[in-house]
Structure formats: structure tokens, C-alpha cells
């Protein structure tokens, strides 16, 4: 049996981001199949590390096959360790696992140098990388949003220098380093077409990147048909799931709600917009000048595993992000909850909600307000969009596609050897 090492830039026991969650779900799924698999995550910086690690400790184990490395806070511009000794340690640790397959979800905190050295040390191993966002292309947090707030459509040395305020030559080196590193992988995966196209435009050879959605296990949401009254009520219930970061566009949503409230209309079906993942205090801290209309209700944090069930209580989930997004887990969760979405019309959001969602012009509160009002109190529209939703790829499906795309299926001769024929 071959050994798989799943490597992630973070560990979901400590941080719950899309990339590390996808990586960990893959690990758990492979483990459930009885495979020889290890998970290696990392803390993302000295603050996290100080909480969990002793002064000289380099790794914490959450299980015999589940490790979390001590992250020192890697500069995502260089994507290299600031201290070569940290790279030495991670390299040796990963090498010691003697994987046949190394699947990296992101390379931040792992380091380009670590990957180059591991590749050189294990020329016969299979190296796979899932590109979870655009960090290799964009030095501004990998979001391809300029520091001025504009969306960025393509990187170039001069444009990036103007955005990030570093000399253009720095970007020449950065790109060379990133392209060289990506070239070392046998297979590159992307959870979205959007991301694949951006990487191909940037310089990765067409055909090198295979698109496989992240896997998400979920139970059947269509247990009981809803009554017309229930559908009508839900058609006035909108929700947001996410964090109070500027790129998630929560301010756009609240401004849209302000515009709706300013019309002073009396609705037959009450209109409410509920915010999950953010509390009122943190919102007002971030946007002190925005007045909160009555239809906005903050519901605070939620457990990720409860998300799909919570979503089922709403008619529409709104994703107003003002950056491209890649393959947001919230879209998969909405699909699992069979709840249609109102989404910004760019990037991964446009791609992933196509056919069953309603799109509005990104960062435009008026357009979002119009989109909300176009479906508010319209149960038939809700039912129609809901009917178009297909369930997201589950982990078994992901695994199938992963094995196929990455050519991990044992050759017939190896199978015969395994079964003793």
C-alpha cells in the first residue's frame, strides 16, 4: 500500500479556513478507507505557536497520524522560511514520513525551499498541489484585489510594484520562484475553473491544472417537502455566513439593506437578513459609519458542522464578497442545504452559482438591493432556483476524481501483486 502525506499550511484544529478544512477532510476520508495516510498541518505564526508549543518544541501530535508543525510566520511574499534551520527541520520531518504521495494544500508555512529539497530527495514520489487561492500570483494576500480596492485582472511586474510598493525586480524573482516550485509538482489541482484560468493566464502551461471541487460530505436535505406557506416565509429570509473581513463584502450587504429600508415599503412577507459568523460589535468596529437597518440581525458565531442545517432555515444565502473568491465552502454548504444564493458576479462566485443563483454587480449595494427585492416574497422563484441545485461533490466523489486525475490507481500488475495473484 502506498503512503500518502497530506500537507497543509494550517491545521483545522487551530484555524478553520477553507484550504485546511478541505485538506483535513481528505485526510479523514482516506483514513476511513483504511489507507496509509498522514496529515501535517502547521500553526500559522508565532502567536498561535506560543499558545501550544513549548520553547523548543517543533511539532504537536493530535493523533498518531495527525501532526501540527510549529509555524514561525512565513512571509508570503518570499514563501521561504526566514531561518534555514526551520526549513531543515520541516524538510527532515516530511522526508522521514517517506510518503509515496505528497499532497500539498497550499505551500505557505511549508516553504518553496522545503518543497524543492523534498522533491530533489524523493524523485520517485508523486507530488500534488491543490491551489486554494492566488497567492502565487498575487502578493497582496493572494486576492488579486489592488490595495486601492480595485479588482485586479492580471499580474505584471510593474503593476504589482505599484500596488505592493516594492521594486518590479522583486516580482520577477517571486514569479520565477513560484513557477519553478509549481513545476515540481506532478499534478496541480484547482477547485474552480476561475482559478485554473488565472494560473494559466499567469504562466502555468494549459492542461497542467485539473479542476476538482473540494469534497463535502452532507446528509440529504430533501427529507420533507415544504408547504407553500413555508416557502413564502422563507422567500423573505436572507442570510450571510462569513467573517467580518473587508473582502467578504458584509458592508455591501448592510448598505443594500439600508437602501431597502430607505424605500419605506411595507412588505406583506417580512424581510429579514441574518448575519452568521459576525457579531454586531465587531461589525460596528469595522464599519462605524454604517447605520444598521431594522431588518439586519446579528446571530454571532456558529459551529461549522451546523452550517448546512442553519442554512436550511433560509430562503436565500447571500455571498457579497468584493474579491474573486475561489471555491468558497459556503457555496458548497448552500448547495448541500439546497438553499439558492445571491452572489457577486465575479470569479468563483459567478462560476459556482451559475444556473441556480442570482448574481449582482460586485460591490454595488443598489444592485444587491435590487436582487434581494427581485426574489423577496416570490416563493415560486425560490422553488424554481432550489430545483436547479445539484448536490456538491462528496468526499467519496472527490476521492474518485483525485485518484483518476492524479493517476493514483494502482496498475493492474500492482493490484495482482497485492492480492497475491
Amino acid at each position: 500500500m502506498s503512503r500518502t502525506v497530506i500537507v497543509s499550511h494550517s491545521h483545522p484544529n487551530l484555524r478553520y479556513g477553507g484550504g485546511e478544512v478541505a485538506a483535513y477532510r481528505q485526510f479523514e476520508h482516506l483514513l476511513s478507507l483504511g489507507q496509509d495516510v498522514f496529515f501535517v498541518g502547521s500553526t500559522i505564526g508565532p502567536e498561535d505557536s506560543a499558545k501550544f508549543f513549548g520553547p523548543s518544541q517543533q511539532v504537536v501530535s493530535f493523533g498518531p497520524r495527525d501532526f501540527c508543525l510549529r509555524g514561525r510566520g512565513m512571509d508570503s511574499f518570499t514563501m521561504e522560511h526566514a531561518d534555514i534551520r526551520d526549513e531543515d527541520w520541516i524538510f527532515e520531518f516530511l522526508l522521514a514520513l517517506q510518503g509515496d504521495v505528497y499532497h500539498f494544500h497550499h505551500f505557505w508555512n511549508i516553504g518553496a525551499g522545503t518543497i524543492r529539497r523534498l522533491r530533489a530527495a524523493l524523485p520517485d514520489a508523486k507530488f500534488i498541489c491543490t491551489l486554494h487561492e492566488l497567492t502565487a500570483i498575487c502578493a497582496n494576500h493572494g486576492q488579486m484585489v489592488k490595495r486601492s480596492g480595485e479588482l485586479c485582472y492580471a499580474s505584471s511586474e510593474v503593476a504589482c510594484a505599484a500596488c505592493v510598493a516594492r521594486p518590479p525586480i522583486d516580482f520577477v524573482l517571486r514569479k520565477a520562484r513560484m513557477i519553478e516550485m509549481l513545476d515540481l509538482f506532478d499534478h496541480l489541482l484547482s477547485p474552480s475553473e476561475f482559478l485554473r484560468l488565472r494560473f494559466e493566464d499567469w504562466g502555468v502551461a494549459p492542461g497542467r491544472i485539473v479542476v476538482i471541487e473540494n469534497g463535502l460530505d452532507h446528509h440529504d436535505a430533501s427529507a420533507r417537502p415544504e408547504t407553500s406557506a413555508e416557502l413564502l416565509a422563507k422567500s423573505g429570509r436572507f442570510a450571510f455566513f462569513g467573517q467580518a473581513t473587508p473582502t467578504k463584502g458584509l458592508d455591501v450587504l448592510v448598505r443594500a439593506a439600508e437602501l431597502i429600508a430607505a424605500r419605506g415599503e411595507e412588505f406583506e412577507t417580512p424581510l429579514s437578513i441574518e448575519i452568521h459568523g459576525v457579531d454586531k460589535e465587531s461589525f460596528t468596529q469595522m464599519w462605524p459609519d454604517i447605520e444598521l437597518p431594522d431588518c439586519i440581525h446579528f446571530r454571532g458565531r456558529y459551529r461549522p458542522q451546523d452550517c448546512v442545517d442553519i442554512m436550511r432555515a433560509y430562503g436565500w444565502i447571500i455571498i457579497p464578497s468584493v474579491w474573486w473568491e475561489n471555491s468558497p465552502v459556503v457555496i458548497q454548504e448552500a448547495r448541500a442545504a439546497r438553499t439558492p444564493m445571491i452572489a457577486s458576479d465575479i470569479g468563483g462566485m459567478a462560476e459556482k452559482t451559475e444556473g441556480w443563483g442570482i448574481q449582482f454587480r460586485v460591490a454595488d449595494p443598489a444592485a444587491l438591493a435590487a436582487a434581494i427585492l427581485s426574489v423577496h416574497g416570490q416563493p415560486e422563484v425560490l422553488a424554481e432556483h432550489r430545483a436547479r441545485i445539484t448536490p456538491p461533490l462528496d468526499l467519496a466523489g472527490f476521492n474518485e476524481e483525485w485518484v483518476e486525475s492524479c493517476e493514483l490507481r494502482p496498475a493492474p500488475s500492482e493490484i495482482r501483486k497485492l492480492v497475491g495473484v
Binding site: 522560511h81 526566514a82 531561518d83 525586480i169 524573482l173
Partner: protein, 524 residues
């Protein structure tokens, strides 16, 4: 009354100096060299206490011998000092010896007056023995006061580099106007050098508080520069000779040691305070030699202790410190043997150290740090090949040809945007210097150091010297030229050489200006 002659000597620029005293207010002195009659080009007067008079009875008269007809040998000619009908024969041997005798036994006032003429470049005494004697005599001399009822003198900065380039910046206000200028000499154990002093050249409105006691013009700041002809052996002192001060040598100021870049920054700041751009150039030029000794390609010499397979990379890392690893890794596959690295940085920091360590883990041929300093030193064990480049060029140029083994010829790779379109080799050499074209140089280690030894250390960057070396090779047709065909090239903007001085120019631009000034002096 006829002039009483004490000393008579010829300086290094064929100027005959006659010193002595006379009660005549305007002595009509002549020198007869065989049949040629010379009149003085300058007569300096000074008070002498030994004559028990407060009148300036002392005389130093200078006669230029440069106008003598060809064939007149001053060492053999008959020489007379004449005044009216009185003739006083000068023995030829005195012309060689009297300068030292004056320094040894001349009364203070004559010695100081002679120093003033040296400071003003009317006399040039550059032989080391005389220099040593002058230094010895001044070592015990007391300093004049900086502030008296006759003058006030301030020294804000007085600095010199290890190579002997120095600058003084200060201010001076006499109580009354004087025809005699403030002037200065710099002295160390074995050498004396005149200071190009520019009194009254810098605006100093802040000195108006002294206006009630001294002459305030608003432009009472001075700047001055010098360079010793060779590297000084020890610390130096500046002698500022104040007009009207006959009984003391002047104000003696210790010269502080300064890093070349700090000195350059101070010169730049001082220059910005000088309104007259000709004065700015004079200040800068004072720190530079009058000529560049161009390297001539030589026959390869047999070298002991040469490691033929090794390459010494002299790298001006002008990129982010963390990028050093990638620059070194990039050349790794092209190395014929071990890479020795001399980093043109004053010291290593963690990021650079990390970059070298990281690269050494990935370069299979081996990598060793030879040193980190802004200067290039001849290695004890000569590498087979030396490559010089800035990191930005090394990363963007094709490194293969630079590191190829078994190349006997020097290789110069350069990026010439104009030459790419249209160009001839001669024009390329001209643009190479004028436009500071990005380049990389690769040549046999022994040849490299033999040629480099001939280029003076008067620049801030070693690149300025290497540019001269490469240029000499190009001009002589002794280098294989390679054009870097890059349509998109970016210069590095990191590292000490890219730091800007007060006028916004970096070290390379400062050196380009230095070179321009030296070449202008050569033409003059």
C-alpha cells in the same frame, strides 16, 4: 636695501622659491638663469619677530621656471637673485636642499608662510622626506585659538576615509576684511596635502548673531576637500591657516575617520549648500585624483595557488536580502566547480546568511562564503575564474556563458537597449560608461586581479573600478562581448549601493560623477 636671502629652492612644479627679508615695501626682485631674466609670479610678505619689527619684512618670492627655453638645465645653470644692480648668486645644490632646510631650521614665520603657499597650491612639495619633516615640525606646534578678537572659526565636520579622501565643512568670520584667504593643509605622519578650500561659498544665515563682532555676509560657510596621493599611514590633522595669524601655524583640528559613504553624504549635503555649481565641482574634484590609470590588458602571468575549477563570484546583491538564495541557486547548475562568494555588503545579516546557507543546501557543486565587504581583496588562493555582477543582472542575464568552464578570454555581457537596435562596438563602449549599462564580467582570476590592482581606489563602489576594467578590455578588443537580449529588464533597488544621498542620487551615480570630474581634470 638689498633683500637678505635665507633659502632658495625649486618645488615639484618648477617654481623657484626665494625666502628672506627686506625693508623695501616693494622689492623689485628678479632671477637671472643664465641669460634669462624672470620676474616673480607671486611675492608674499610676512612679519618676522626675529627682526624685531611688526612690519611684514619677510618675503617669499616665487618665480616660474616653466618659461625657460628648452636646453636650460636649472641644475647646471648660473642663477642669480637680483634687485636693482645687486646680484646674489644662488648655488645650484641649494635648489634641491633648501626646502628641507627651511622646514628644519627656518624661523616659524617663514615656515608658516611657506605652508600657506603650499596650502594655496602656489608651491608643491610632494616628496615624502619634506612631507615627513613638515609633519614632524607641526606635530609639536601649538594650535591657534578658534575665536579671537580678529576672527572666529567653526569646524562642523572634518573627516577622512581610509583611502585619504577628506572633507572639512565649517564657517569663518574675520573681524575685518583681508586680501589673504583662509586656507588649509592636511597633514599625517608622512604626507602633507593642500586642501581645496572654498571660503565664503556656503550660505549660513544662522551666524547673524556674530554680526556685532565679526564681518557677517550671510555666506560665511566654507567647504573644503582633499585627497592624499596614497593611502595615509595613520591619523591626520587639518591645519586651517587664518589670515593675519603669522606667529602660529593656524588652527589644528583632528580629522575623524569616516566611511566613504558617510563622507560622500556629507560632501553631497555641503554641495547642496553651495550656490555656485563650479564651486560644487571644485569641492568634489578635490577628493579625486587628477587622472585615472587605465588598465592595460597584460599577458597572463603564471600563478601559484590557483584552483582552476573554482569560481569567485563578486556579487553586488542589489535585490531583497531574502532573494540572495535564488540568485545563487540560479547559477548553481552552470558551475564547473565550487563557488566562492564575495558579497559586496559591509556585513552579513540574518537574511543574507540564511540565503547563503539555503543555497549551499541546493548547489551540488558546493558554495563557500569567501567574505562580505564593500571592497574587493586579492584572495590568498586564486580562483580559476572571477565573475562580477549585480544580482539583478545575474538573475536576468543568461548565466551559462559567464560560468562556462575552459574559457580563456574575458567575457563581458551587457544590456544595451540602444545597441540592440543600432550600434557599433565603439559607440557601445561609450554608452557603457555614459549610461552605466548593466553588465557582468567573467575572466580568469589572476588576470582580473592583476588588472584591478592598477585602478585607483577613489570610488565609492567597486563596480566603478570594474567598469573601468571592463571598458579597457572592450576598448582593446580583449573581451568577448555578449549582448543580453532581454526586452524587459528591471534594475535592483536594494543594498547599500542603491541608497540615495541627499541629492537623490545613489552610489553608482555618485561614482559616475566622480569619474566625469576626473576625466574633465585629465582634459584640462
Amino acid at each position: 636695501m638689498q633683500m637678505n636671502m635665507d633659502f632658495c629652492f625649486v618645488d615639484d612644479h618648477r617654481v623657484l622659491a626665494v625666502t628672506g627679508w627686506t625693508t623695501e615695501a616693494r622689492p623689485l626682485l628678479r632671477v637671472h638663469v643664465d641669460d634669462v631674466v624672470l620676474t616673480p609670479v607671486r611675492v608674499a610678505r610676512h612679519v618676522r619677530r626675529d627682526l624685531r619689527s611688526s612690519e611684514p619684512l619677510g618675503v617669499i618670492a616665487l618665480f616660474s621656471l616653466s618659461g625657460l627655453p628648452e636646453g636650460v638645465d636649472i641644475a647646471k645653470a648660473t642663477i642669480h637673485l637680483a634687485e636693482g644692480n645687486h646680484f646674489n648668486e644662488i648655488r645650484n645644490d641649494r635648489l634641491r636642499e633648501d626646502a628641507r632646510r627651511l622646514v628644519e631650521v627656518g624661523v616659524d614665520e617663514v615656515f608658516f608662510a611657506m605652508l600657506r603657499l603650499v596650502a594655496q597650491r602656489h608651491l608643491v612639495l610632494s616628496d615624502q622626506d619634506t612631507g615627513r619633516e613638515i609633519c614632524a615640525r607641526l606635530r609639536a606646534a601649538p594650535s591657534a585659538a578658534r575665536e579671537t578678537e580678529n576672527h572666529v572659526l567653526g569646524v562642523d565636520r572634518c573627516q577622512m576615509t581610509e583611502q585619504g579622501q577628506g572633507v572639512v565643512i565649517g564657517w569663518f568670520m574675520p573681524a575685518s576684511a583681508s586680501a589673504e584667504p583662509l586656507c588649509a593643509l592636511v597633514v599625517e605622519d608622512e604626507m602633507v596635502a593642500p586642501v581645496e578650500l572654498l571660503p565664503g561659498s556656503m550660505s549660513r544665515a544662522d551666524l547673524s548673531g556674530y554680526a556685532s563682532r565679526y564681518r557677517f555676509t550671510g555666506r560665511d560657510g566654507y567647504g573644503g576637500g582633499w585627497h592624499f596621493p596614497s593611502r595615509p599611514s595613520g591619523p591626520a590633522r587639518l591645519l586651517l591657516m587664518v589670515p593675519g595669524e603669522h606667529f602660529l601655524p593656524g588652527v589644528l583640528v583632528p580629522v575623524e575617520a569616516a566611511e566613504p559613504a558617510d563622507l560622500a553624504q556629507n560632501v553631497t549635503v555641503a554641495s547642496l549648500g553651495i550656490e555656485d555649481i563650479a564651486d560644487r565641482a571644485r569641492l568634489r574634484s578635490a577628493l579625486l585624483p587628477n587622472a585615472l590609470s587605465h588598465s592595460q590588458p597584460q599577458e597572463p602571468a603564471g600563478v601559484e595557488n590557483e584552483t582552476s575549477g573554482e569560481t569567485l563570484l563578486i556579487l553586488d546583491h542589489d535585490l531583497a536580502d531574502t532573494d540572495l538564495r535564488d540568485v545563487l541557486r540560479r547559477i548553481g547548475p552552470h558551475l564547473p566547480g565550487r563557488l566562492r562568494l564575495h558579497l559586496l555588503r559591509p556585513r552579513l545579516n540574518m537574511a543574507l546568511r540564511n540565503g547563503i546557507d539555503g543555497a549551499s543546501r541546493e548547489i551540488t557543486a558546493g558554495l563557500e562564503l569567501e567574505g562580505a565587504s564593500l571592497g574587493i581583496t586579492r584572495p590568498a588562493i586564486m580562483p580559476g575564474r572571477v565573475v562580477f555582477a549585480r544580482s539583478a543582472s545575474l538573475f536576468q542575464f543568461d548565466p551559462e556563458v559567464l560560468f562556462a568552464p575552459d574559457q580563456s578570454d574575458a567575457q563581458v555581457m551587457l544590456l544595451d537597449p540602444i545597441g540592440t537596435v543600432l550600434g557599433s562596438p565603439a559607440a557601445e563602449v561609450e554608452r557603457f560608461a555614459r549610461d552605466l549599462l548593466p553588465f557582468a564580467l567573467s575572466m580568469r582570476g589572476a588576470d582580473f586581479f592583476n588588472l584591478l590592482d592598477h585602478i585607483p581606489h577613489c570610488f565609492l563602489t567597486e563596480e566603478a573600478r570594474l567598469r573601468l576594467l571592463a571598458e579597457a578590455l572592450m576598448t582593446a578588443g580583449d573581451a568577448q562581448m555578449h549582448r543580453a537580449d532581454i526586452y524587459r529588464y528591471f534594475e535592483g533597488k536594494s543594498g547599500p549601493h542603491c541608497q540615495n544621498f541627499a541629492d537623490g542620487r545613489d552610489w553608482h551615480a555618485y561614482d559616475a560623477e566622480s569619474r566625469h570630474l576626473i576625466e574633465r581634470a585629465e582634459l584640462a
